[in-house]
Symmetry: C2
Subunit: 208 residues, 2 copies
Amino acid sequence: MEIITVSREFGSGGRELGKRLADIMNFDYFDKEIIAAISSNKGLDEKYVEKSLESNYVQTFSYTFGNTFGVIPMLQAQKTELFLEQKRVIEEIAKLGKNCVIVGRNADVILKEYNPFNIFVCADMEAKIRRCLMRAPKGENLTRKKIIQNIKNIDKSRARIREFMTDSKWGSSSTYHLTVNTTDWDIKELAQAVSEFAASWFKRKKSN
Amino acid sequence: MEIITVSREFGSGGRELGKRLADIMNFDYFDKEIIAAISSNKGLDEKYVEKSLESNYVQTFSYTFGNTFGVIPMLQAQKTELFLEQKRVIEEIAKLGKNCVIVGRNADVILKEYNPFNIFVCADMEAKIRRCLMRAPKGENLTRKKIIQNIKNIDKSRARIREFMTDSKWGSSSTYHLTVNTTDWDIKELAQAVSEFAASWFKRKKSN
């Protein structure tokens, strides 16, 4: 079984890359499908589940106890449960035993034992702003400043969730097998190039 | 003209990857050749030039002036001269107008106007230690601890030189077009996969 995981900066086109990779390689594709499964299993609204899993996982509170002062993480019970359910759903997907692409959700760490091919997708800030503008819903007129702020906040949140859940750093080169910068690419052509690279990697893996 | 630059973590196999890429793609290859040219132009010993260009570019000294306390960079005249000569040599290489691979030396920034394909090569620490052990000169019996220290120091130095000379961060994903982790690869096979990726990138660039 071959699994590709795609982690990505917000606005980098990582989701489109993942979808196109799945199409080219004839792999199953999982992204929002995971949210739908969690919502259905837990009887919760999809939008609510999505929001919960995308915001910072950890809230901290400061305490003093005798002479000791410290900060401990306070887990929100329902969020914790949603993250565990997400992990379970991703493990279920892997157990299906079919080739697949999974976008986001730290699937690279959750499925480590399956030795997936892990991709990180990034882009220059200007390219990410262009993509956000292009994909903005009609009538949404965010300022450039606000868009940059959104991009930074979402990525910061992704980094923090990852740091809390795993011992590997979000976006750091050696965490992934391949890191691609989408800036100069048409995603369709990039997906073709990445699919060939991934195929070589899986071939190498098999021969080991 | 097509230029590929290879930046790399110490012990990642980046140099071998660069050499093999040049072989596969029939590109000229520049690495130690740059040192040789600088040495010859300046009438200096190659080992000396190499060492000078690999250690931190900047020494700082602290000062107090009236009520002000600060730290300012102190450039060593000869080092500065060597870095300028290195820049000149790299620009001369590009002016030859031939397809080439250049390893290290921030060539990606120096040749920015040529729009080269920029690769960063990394690997897991364990893989880098194995490679260092494999390539150690006979009789050199460094401890594991010492090897890790060497790797970290050399990379730190590379990062500092880059930060001083350029406005882009060494090793950071979006600085490069492609970042590859060599850990699970045979470099020969990896070079083949990267050469195909690079060829797609140049094709895309031409069609733009």
